[in-house]
C-alpha cells in the first residue's frame, strides 16, 4: 500500500468507497489498464458485504466474492488503496481533478504481521462496531478475522497511556506507532466514481418499535452478524438478553422504510433479507416458528421464486399488517408485537423470543457528504460534474445489481480516458 508519489498525466480514476461497488469499479477499470486509487473510511475493504453472513437467493457466503476481488487488487499494480481515509475536497473538472485526501492514523504500520500479541496484551475493551456493539473487542484489534488488509488497528481515543504501553510492549515488530498523525495528500485524477454505500437506518429513531429499549429487539444487520460464523456468537443464533437459542422470531418489515417519518423510500432488499434470515433460523432449529409481518412482500423480478420457496415452509407464517407497537413481555424476556392482521381484520398480539426489525438502507449521503457531489433530499448521490455515482450511494440495491451498476460506472469513467477529458453524457 505505497502511495504513488509521481503525479503523472496518465488517466487515473479515484474510487470513493471500498465496498463491493467501489471494489468492482476499481478492479474493472484497472483491468482495462487505468490507474485507480481507492479511498475507504474504514480500516478494511469490503464494506457492508463483509458483514453479511450469506447472499440471497443462493445462500452462499459472500467471502468468496470478496476474496476474489481482494486477490485482483493485490495482483494489480495499477490499484492503490487507502483505508481510514476520507476525501476532503475535490476541485477541477472532468479529466483534470485535484482531490485532497485525509489519511487518519491507524497507529499500526506495515511491520504488522497480524500476530495478535497486541490484542492479547491490550487491557482496554471497546464495543465492537463491526458487530453493531453486540460484543466487546480490545482497543488494539483486527476488525474481523478475514479483514483485508490483514492489519491491526488501535483505537487510540479509547486507549490510555497504560493501554498504549501494554500494546507497544507486546509488539515484537515495532509495528505500533502512536506518533502517527493525520496526513493530508493531494492527487490528480481524471475521473471519479462515488461508491460510498449505505448505513443501516438508525432503529433508535423508530420510537414505537422498541429498539434500544427492549433487549431482544435487534435489526436485520445485527441478525447477519449473529448468524455469521465470524460473528459475536460464532454463528449461533441466540438472543441478546439471556443467550437462549431462539425458537420463535418475528420479522418486522418496513421498519423505517416506506415511511416519510423515517426513510420515505422502499429499501429494496429488506423483504429478501428477512426471507433469507428466516432460512438461517430454520436451519438451526427445525421447530422454530417464523412470523413475517409485512405491508407488501416485495421480491422484485426472479426473487419472487425465493419467496414462493420460503412460503412452502409451514413454519414461516406471513401476516399482512405492519407492526406498529412492540412491548416487553412482563413475565419473560420474550417480546410482544402488535399489528392488525388485515386478512382477518383482527388486531393481534404475537409473542416471540426475538424480534428482528427489517431496517432499511440510509444512503451514506444522508449523514456524510463528499464535497462537490450532488445529492437528493434523501441523501442519494447524483451523477454530475463528471463524478459517477455507483451502487447504494445512488439508490437502494442488492449486491448483484450494485456490481452491475459499478461496472457501468467504470465504463463511463473509462470513456473519459478515451475522450481525454471531454464532457461525456452521463446519468
Amino acid at each position: 500500500m505505497s502511495a504513488h508519489s509521481s503525479e503523472s498525466t496518465t488517466p487515473r480514476l479515484l474510487v470513493i468507497g471500498g465496498g463491493f461497488s467501489g471494489l468492482t469499479s476499481a478492479v474493472d477499470a484497472a483491468e482495462k489498464g487505468i490507474e485507480v486509487i481507492i479511498v475507504e473510511k474504514n480500516p478494511y475493504l469490503g464494506g457492508r458485504v463483509a458483514q453479511l453472513n450469506k447472499y440471497f437467493p443462493k445462500l452462499c457466503p459472500p467471502n468468496c466474492g470478496l476474496e476474489i476481488n481482494f486477490r485482483r487488487i493485490r495482483e494489480n499494480p495499477l490499484i492503490t488503496f487507502y483505508t481510514m481515509a476520507e476525501v476532503e475536497d475535490i476541485s477541477g473538472s472532468p479529466g483534470d481533478y485535484t482531490v485532497t485526501i485525509k489519511l487518519n492514523p491507524r497507529y499500526v504500520n506495515d511491520n504488522c504481521t497480524a500476530c495478535n500479541a497486541c490484542t492479547e496484551a491490550c487491557p482496554k475493551t471497546i464495543p465492537n462496531e463491526f458487530n453493531f456493539g453486540m460484543d466487546l473487542i480490545k482497543a488494539a484489534y483486527l476488525p474481523f478475522n478475514q479483514a483485508f488488509p490483514l492489519k491491526y488497528v488501535v483505537d487510540a481515543a479509547h486507549c490510555d497511556n497504560n493501554c498504549k504501553k501494554a500494546c507497544m510492549e507486546a509488539c515484537k515488530y515495532n509495528a505500533i506507532d502512536f506518533n502517527m498523525k493525520p496526513v493530508t495528500i493531494t492527487k490528480k485524477v481524471t475521473s471519479i466514481i462515488l461508491a460510498t454505500g449505505w448505513n443501516p437506518y438508525d432503529a433508535n429513531k423508530i420510537d414505537n418499535l422498541g429498539f434500544g429499549q427492549i433487549k431482544n429487539v435487534i435489526t436485520n444487520m445485527m441478525m447477519e452478524r449473529l448468524a455469521s460464523p465470524n460473528g459475536p456468537t460464532n454463528g449461533k443464533i441466540i438472543r441478546p438478553s439471556d443467550g437462549k437459542p431462539v425458537d420463535s422470531v418475528i420479522f418486522v418489515q418496513c421498519a423505517g422504510s416506506r415511511d416519510e417519518n423515517h426513510l420515505a423510500f422502499c429499501s429494496y432488499i429488506c423483504c429478501m433479507a428477512s426471507l433469507k434470515q428466516a432460512q438461517y433460523i430454520r436451519e438451526q432449529n427445525k421447530d422454530a416458528k417464523i412470523y413475517i409481518f409485512y405491508i407488501d412482500i416485495r421480491t422484485p423480478g426472479k426473487y419472487e421464486q425465493f419467496y414462493w420457496k420460503v412460503k412452502e415452509d409451514p413454519n414461516v407464517i406471513f401476516i399482512k399488517g405492519k407492526v406498529a407497537k412492540v412491548t416487553q413481555d412482563t413475565s419473560s424476556d420474550d417480546v410482544i408485537v402488535e399489528a392488525e392482521d388485515m386478512l382477518t381484520g383482527e388486531k393481534i398480539q404475537t409473542k416471540a423470543s426475538l424480534v428482528v426489525l427489517a431496517t432499511g438502507m440510509e444512503p451514506s449521503g444522508a449523514t456524510m457528504k463528499v464535497p462537490k457531489v450532488e445529492y437528493t433530499e434523501e441523501g442519494f448521490s447524483i451523477s454530475s460534474n463528471g463524478i459517477f455515482a455507483a451502487g447504494c450511494s445512488k439508490y437502494p440495491l442488492d449486491v448483484a445489481k450494485s456490481v452491475q451498476d459499478a461496472t457501468g460506472a467504470a465504463m463511463k469513467a473509462l470513456s473519459l480516458k478515451i475522450h481525454e477529458g471531454e464532457e461525456v453524457s452521463h446519468g
Binding site: N208, I295, E340, M342, E346, K347
Partner: protein, 377 residues
C-alpha cells in the same frame, strides 16, 4: 367478510377530500394507524378500514358507522402514518359529513360547512338584534339605564319579549332537530351494525355518561395528550354556564329578580368561574392545535368556525361584564350585542356545527356499548 359488490360513490370521495380529508388517497393500507390507536376495539379495528372505505367511495359503510365517533381524533394515527395520509383528519371530515347527512334542515348544514356562508351565519342574528334595538327605540330615544343609573343589559335587551322570546323557541327547534337526526341515525346504526344483545340500554347510557364526565377516553391519546385538560375545561364550563342560565331563569321567573346581579351572588360566581374556564380551555385548544399541527393537522374550517364561536361567546361575555362594571357604555353595549350574536350562533347552529359532535358521539358511544362494540373503561 362475505362477498359484496362495491358501488363506489365518487362524489363521496371528492367530498371527503374537499372537507379536510385531502390526504385520503395517500393511504397505502399498512395498518399502522389501527395499531397505534388507543380507542379502537381489537375486532375489526379502525381507522384503516375506514380509509379504504373512503378511498373506494363506500359512503354507506361510513356515514352510519358508530366507529367514526369512537374515534376522538387523538391523532396518534396521523403522527405515525408513514404516508402522511392523516387518518385522524379524514375521519374528522367523515364525521362532519355524517352530521351534515343526518342534521335537518340540510341547507343549514351546508351553510356551516362553507366559508362563503360565514357572513350570512352571523348576519342573521345581527339583523335580529338590530331590529330588537330599533323596536325599543334605542336608536332614537337612547338605551335606558337600570336602577341607580347603572348599565343594565336587561334594560338594553329585556328577556321579555325579546331574548327569551327568541331563544326559547329556538332551543325547542334545536331539540326537535336533534331528536329527528338521532332517531334516523340510531335506526341506521341498528340496521347496519346492530347485533342481537341482551345488554341493558340503561347501563350503556350510564356508562357513557360516566365516561364523558371523566373524559377517560382522552387519557388514551398520546400525541395530543394535552387535549384532555383543554377539552375538560371547555366541557365543564359549558355545564357551569348551563347552571348559571338555570339560576337566571329561576331568579327571573320565580323570584322576579332582574339582572344585573351583585358580583358576590352565587349566579355571578358560578358564571365567572365557568367563563374563565371556558376562555382558558378554548385558548388551550387553539394553542394545542397550533402546537400539534405538524403531527395532527391544523383542522378544517368547520372546526375553526366552532372554535371562533366558542371563543366569541366567552370573550364577549367577559368583556361585556367588565365594561358594564366600569360603566363604559360605548364598549359594554356593543360587547353584549356581540355576545348575543355568538350565543345565537352557538345555539341555532348546534345541530349542524361541530357542537353536534356532543350529541352524535354520545349516541354512537351508547350504541357501541349496547351492541358490545365499545367496552367500558
Amino acid at each position: 367478510m362475505s362477498e359484496e359488490i362495491v358501488k363506489p360513490d365518487l362524489n363521496f370521495v371528492k367530498e371527503v377530500i374537499s372537507s379536510g380529508g385531502e390526504s385520503l388517497k395517500k393511504c397505502y393500507q399498512c395498518s399502522t394507524c389501527t395499531v397505534v390507536c388507543g380507542m379502537t376495539p381489537d375486532n375489526s379495528p379502525f381507522p384503516r378500514k375506514e380509509m379504504l372505505y373512503a378511498q373506494w367511495g363506500m359512503r354507506d359503510k361510513l356515514i352510519s358507522n358508530p366507529d367514526i365517533w369512537l374515534c376522538h381524533q387523538c391523532s396518534d394515527c396521523t403522527a405515525y402514518c408513514p404516508r402522511g395520509a392523516k387518518p385522524g383528519e379524514v375521519l374528522g371530515a367523515i364525521r362532519k359529513m355524517a352530521i351534515k347527512n343526518y342534521s335537518k334542515p340540510s341547507f343549514l348544514a351546508s351553510m356551516v360547512n362553507e366559508p362563503k356562508s360565514a357572513i350570512l351565519l352571523f348576519a342573521i342574528p345581527i339583523v335580529i338584534f338590530l331590529v330588537f334595538m330599533m323596536i325599543q327605540g334605542h336608536f332614537t330615544t337612547g338605551i335606558p339605564r337600570g336602577e341607580g343609573g347603572i348599565i343594565s343589559f336587561s334594560k338594553f335587551m329585556p328577556p321579555i319579549p325579546y331574548i327569551d322570546f327568541l331563544f326559547i323557541p329556538l332551543a325547542a327547534l334545536v331539540v326537535l332537530s336533534f331528536v329527528a337526526s338521532i332517531k334516523s341515525y340510531w335506526a341506521d346504526m341498528a340496521k347496519n351494525y346492530g347485533k342481537p344483545t341482551d345488554a341493558d340500554i340503561n347501563k350503556s347510557i350510564t356508562d357513557t355518561i360516566i365516561e364523558i364526565l371523566s373524559h377517560k377516553k382522552f387519557s388514551k391519546c398520546n400525541v395530543t395528550a394535552d387535549r384532555k385538560i383543554a377539552h375538560l375545561l371547555v366541557f365543564y364550563s359549558f355545564i357551569g354556564l348551563a347552571i348559571t342560565t338555570s339560576i337566571a331563569v329561576f331568579y327571573l321567573y320565580l323570584l322576579k329578580w332582574e339582572s344585573p346581579y351583585p358580583q358576590t351572588n352565587i349566579i355571578k360566581i358560578i358564571g365567572n368561574i365557568s367563563g374563565i374556564a371556558l376562555l382558558v380551555g378554548i385558548t388551550m385548544i387553539v394553542s394545542n392545535r397550533i402546537k400539534n399541527k405538524d403531527k395532527a393537522g391544523i383542522g378544517s374550517y368547520f372546526d375553526w368556525l366552532f372554535i371562533v364561536i366558542v371563543y366569541g361567546v366567552g370573550a364577549t361575555g367577559m368583556f361585556a361584564q367588565i365594561f358594564r362594571l366600569l360603566d363604559i357604555a360605548f364598549i359594554a353595549y356593543p360587547m353584549y350585542f356581540a355576545h348575543l350574536v355568538f350565543i345565537f350562533a352557538l345555539f341555532a347552529y348546534a345541530p349542524f356545527s361541530k357542537m353536534a359532535h356532543m350529541v352524535y358521539r354520545t349516541t354512537a358511544l351508547v350504541f357501541a356499548k349496547h351492541v358490545g362494540r365499545d367496552k367500558s373503561i
